[in-house]
């Protein structure tokens, strides 16, 4: 085998991506780093202003509010959706009848376009005659004003995001089907209970997938945008649903402060890198790469 030839072939095969990663990732990344030190509105050329944007951000109260909101959302919604996703996937992995139907039911919500999703939930969650509160009323719970009470607007969004857990569930399900039956049978022979089997065999076997989904979840939940953008324009009530990406979008396109928005983008990037790094480090101990 000619090494040189293989090298050339490799570069040729990889060339679309080498171009793509440079043009659509590295160049924009560097450019946004540059812009984050500029005063820049789309219609006028960028003017270098040093670290002004970053300094202003540091003192920008709204910035900190959106940071707090976003972290809070991520910290609550991510574990909940992971637990729900894994739980449902495990149930679906048992050999019960009607699996195809169940799978489809759990997956449907993640197919609903976000705009419709937001409209539908605006309505389900309506404090006065929303179906959710009517249902809660039936069992004697006085439902909150999900949409107009700042204490409940974030839980409302989290509830909605849980409804869309189907995508992640599918990935867990696929990995569960990969767990060798022989291992499970072996532990059964050893007299392990269902819970022990789950804890000692299944979970470790799918741990790489859990870790992968966790990392993707961190990245995704810190960027939460569309649902809130459609349901709670401006982050009402009282900025309780004003998330980081929404403030970034407002700065870029409503306030014509693209430089400021770029600075926000870079801070987000760095935070995501740090958090992902920590998450990987902490979880690596529990991740089992035996597998298939």
């Amino acid at each position: 085998m000619n090494k040189r030839k293989e090298s050339i072939a490799g570069l040729l095969f990889a060339s679309p991506w080498l171009f793509g990663i440079s043009a659509f990732l590295f160049y924009p990344l560097l450019m946004s780093l540059y812009l984050s030190f500029c005063d820049y509105s789309v219609l006028r050329p960028a003017v270098w202003i040093g670290t002004d944007n970053y300094r202003e951000l540091f003192h920008d109260e709204v910035f900190w509010i959106t940071v707090k909101n976003t972290l809070l959302y991520a910290v609550v919604s991510l574990p909940m959706s992971m637990i729900l996703g894994i739980g449902l996937a495990m149930l679906l992995n048992s050999k019960v009848k009607g699996l195809t139907v169940y799978r489809t039911i759990f997956f449907i919500p993640s197919l609903v376009p976000v705009v419709s999703l937001a409209m539908l939930w605006l309505w389900l969650l309506n404090g006065e005659h929303g179906i959710i509160n009517l249902g809660l009323g039936k069992i004697g719970i006085n439902g909150p004003n999900w949409l107009s009470n700042p204490a409940w607007s974030k839980p409302a969004l989290i509830l909605m995001s849980l409804w869309g857990v189907g995508n992640a569930m599918l990935i867990y399900l696929a990995s569960l089907q990969d767990v060798p039956v022989s291992l499970l049978e072996a532990s059964e022979l050893d007299g392990a209970s269902s819970w022990q089997k789950t804890r000692n065999v299944t979970l470790p076997m799918i741990s790489p997938v859990i870790q992968f989904n966790m990392v993707m979840g961190i990245i995704g939940s810190l960027q939460v945008f569309t649902e809130a953008f459609v349901m709670f324009p401006g982050g009402v009530p009282a900025r309780s649903t004003y998330f980081y990406s929404m403030y970034l979008y407002d700065n870029a396109f409503n306030y014509s402060r693209m430089g400021y928005a770029s600075a926000m983008g870079w801070i987000l990037f760095i935070v995501i890198m740090i958090l992902t790094g920590i998450a990987l480090k902490l979880s690596n101990r529990h991740v089992h790469y035996g597998g298939v």
Partner: protein
Amino acid sequence: MKSKKKWLTILTHGVLISFSCLFIFPFLWLLDTAIKPIGETMKEPPVWIPSKFEFHNFWDAITYGSDKVGYIPFFVYAQNSLMLCTLVVVGRVISNSVVAYAFARLRWWGRDFVFALTLATMMVPFPVLMVPTFTIFRHLDWIGTYRPLWVPAWFGSAFSIFLLRQFFRTIPFELSEAARIDGAGEWLIFKSIILPLCKPALSVVALFAFMGTWNDFLGPLIYLLRQDTFTLAIGLEFYHSKAGGTQWNLLMAATAIVIMPVMIVFFFCQKQFIKGIAITGIK
């Protein structure tokens, strides 16, 4: 032992059914609303069974005001979405399989480094790239066209490359070695040995690409300008007019129509699809 197993099955079913109810309920409510007369969509207490089943709502939704300009050209949006999805899906599948081949089955200088970089780029949040990418397309005079939405798809995407690389590596290397000895070039090996074996994985990439594009909101919001170029995902917002005169029943009917194709595809292809994900083994 037997009876314990039976109980377990019943319990599993019970839990699954109750969760199914929670999951399907909003969707049923959506369908229910889609066939209601507009007057019953916002009633208190809610109307469960409409007084009249207005199945023509589905037709009304897609032809809403089609006799007048400036309303909601559903078919135009659907066409736009489909064209865009075709371009993105084809682009994603072709480019990513080619690139993944380079990462999975060829050795070249800097490969592992580039692959590590590729994985790292998954961490770049979209908002960071939003402003400069917009500027790039502005310089290319592409604002208002579909190109910013599909051209990048032809140059690969980190997630799909990763997915396919994992899959390609599971194919025995002896197969390509044998072909090489027979004098086959890399392109031929890729095309006639690797690709035919990778259909499940390719279908996963295609479905993810399709769903992502079909539901993409922010991209079309920024790059498309004129209403007749809009896609369904943003076109749906027109049913929720600015002053707030939402045609609830029509919005829900339109939504049902929008998700139906994907739902049907999923229902029939889920086995293949799950197999695709399983074998790629995201790990």
